[in-house]
Symmetry: C2
Subunit: 277 residues, 2 copies
């Protein structure tokens, strides 16, 4: 059972928000979904978008301008929230990089967190089932995301290459084991036993032999987080070593903001469309 | 003296926010300005954007996606806040349609309001002076806006046809004398003497003989405010009676939101560009 919260026409497609009770996350969740005009005539493929730290379903939906391109290429776009929410959900007050708004797209195993923080299962299993049941989509899907959500997109695709035709990311956290945001999140959600950590890290998954056919990464060179948190070079290296076909676009002068995403989301959707249509 | 608050690259142009002490409004004000890539080579024309009730300089800047089109056509875009702000500025708590966020682009004359609420002078005189002094603009300018800001754009152009090459509006309040938002604002800012009111009303100005050469209006037919507040038909009638060349696009299914604006802002910027370039 999903409940429609809002509906707006944009570029001749429908931008909708829904809420529903999530069984994976054990709380009420909100997602946005864009239905392109082509869906009146035929079932369309789906692009999942995973947002970054502090975001909800709203940021990408209202700020990126993706609808123009999704309407052009006939792609349904689904943007879930970034974590479980609600009074019963564990959170750390005033910490924007852990807890609510910072689910890190993994399945938590540590006490206090594991009851709700199962974002991986939500994004990879529960949400696609809901989309398939309720909307005019076909069997093709791809995934993209920003920052923490770029990390999410990469691990979802690397762990399920049969489920996603292609994966792209804007300024992704490619190697969370090796950066402050990632080690804080993994310690919190997974505990101190680091043997568990590598299955949620894109660079480690590729080292272990996980593969995807099509990866596109956009990285602003004026991004304040590039050096300490994102470390895009480690993805470049591991893809080269393991013969993965990575397209990495370094963008002079662009930063970590939605202004960067809006500048290149059209190119990403066009790139995904060649695998989805 | 203006102070830069932020700078982001988008579509190869610069999106900037500035604050400054306004002499017209007697308070600190914030505006956004987009500088297209063409400004590195030559001075560019300016499009002023006036936002609607409750907005700041940020809404249009982060949600409309205008930068793609302004970068394409080489147009500087300036978006001011919608009212004076600050501790010393009179406001009515919990009223979103009067006071802060609701300046109505007029010069207030009533006690308590007239000290700060001089948005017309700010938009038509002070702000263009600041832009000319500090940024690479030429002498051509146009004006556009949404809802209350559509009203603002229309009266600015009708009262200063020599200053603006063209005017466009999304879902404008075309006849504030004849709608609840307008009569509340005019009573508050101008007082009960209605002889003053007509100089701030687009339909009345056209009746009195004010003219502009180029007007484009976009109106969603699923706009909840169309019947009671916007009354686009009265603009259509008065333009026909006075032989003004109004292009009015009625858009089936579109509402009052930024999703509507983002769908058609590209066409508006392209339309303004023919008069600005």
């Amino acid at each position: 059972m999903i409940e429609k919260k809002s509906e707006n026409l944009i570029f001749n497609g429908q931008q909708l928000f829904y809420s529903h009770q999530s069984s994976a996350l054990n709380c009420e969740m909100t997602f946005s979904i864009f239905i392109p005009p082509q869906a009146k005539e035929k079932k369309c493929p789906v692009l999942y978008w995973l947002s970054g730290l502090t975001c909800t379903a709203d940021n990408f939906t209202s700020k990126s301008g993706f609808q123009r391109y999704a309407a052009e290429h006939g792609i349904i776009v689904v943007a879930p929230d970034t974590s479980p929410r609600g009074e019963s959900v564990k959170d750390i007050k005033d910490a924007w990089d852990i807890g609510c708004g910072a689910g890190f797209y993994l399945n938590a195993t540590s006490e206090g967190w594991k009851d709700h923080y199962q974002m991986y299962d939500y994004v990879v299993k529960e949400l696609p089932g809901i989309i398939k049941t309720n909307f005019p989509c076909n069997d093709k899907a791809s995934v993209s995301g920003h920052s923490m959500g770029g990390h999410g997109a990469l691990i979802c695709a690397l762990k399920n290459p049969q489920q996603y035709q292609s994966v792209s990311a804007f300024a992704p956290i490619v190697h969370p084991l090796d950066c402050p945001w990632g080690t804080k999140a993994f310690t919190t959600y997974l505990g101190d036993d680091q043997t568990q950590w590598s299955e949620w890290d894109a660079v480690e998954l590729i080292k272990q032999g996980n593969k995807v056919d099509h990866i596109l990464v956009e990285q602003g060179l004026a991004d304040n987080f590039l050096e300490d948190q994102l470390k895009t070079d480690s993805l470049k290296t591991v893809c080269a070593e393991n013969k993965l076909n990575l397209i990495l676009n370094d963008r002079e002068g662009y930063d970590h903001s939605y202004y960067f995403i809006s500048s290149f989301i059209g190119e990403h959707i066009k790139w995904h469309a060649q695998f989805l249509n």
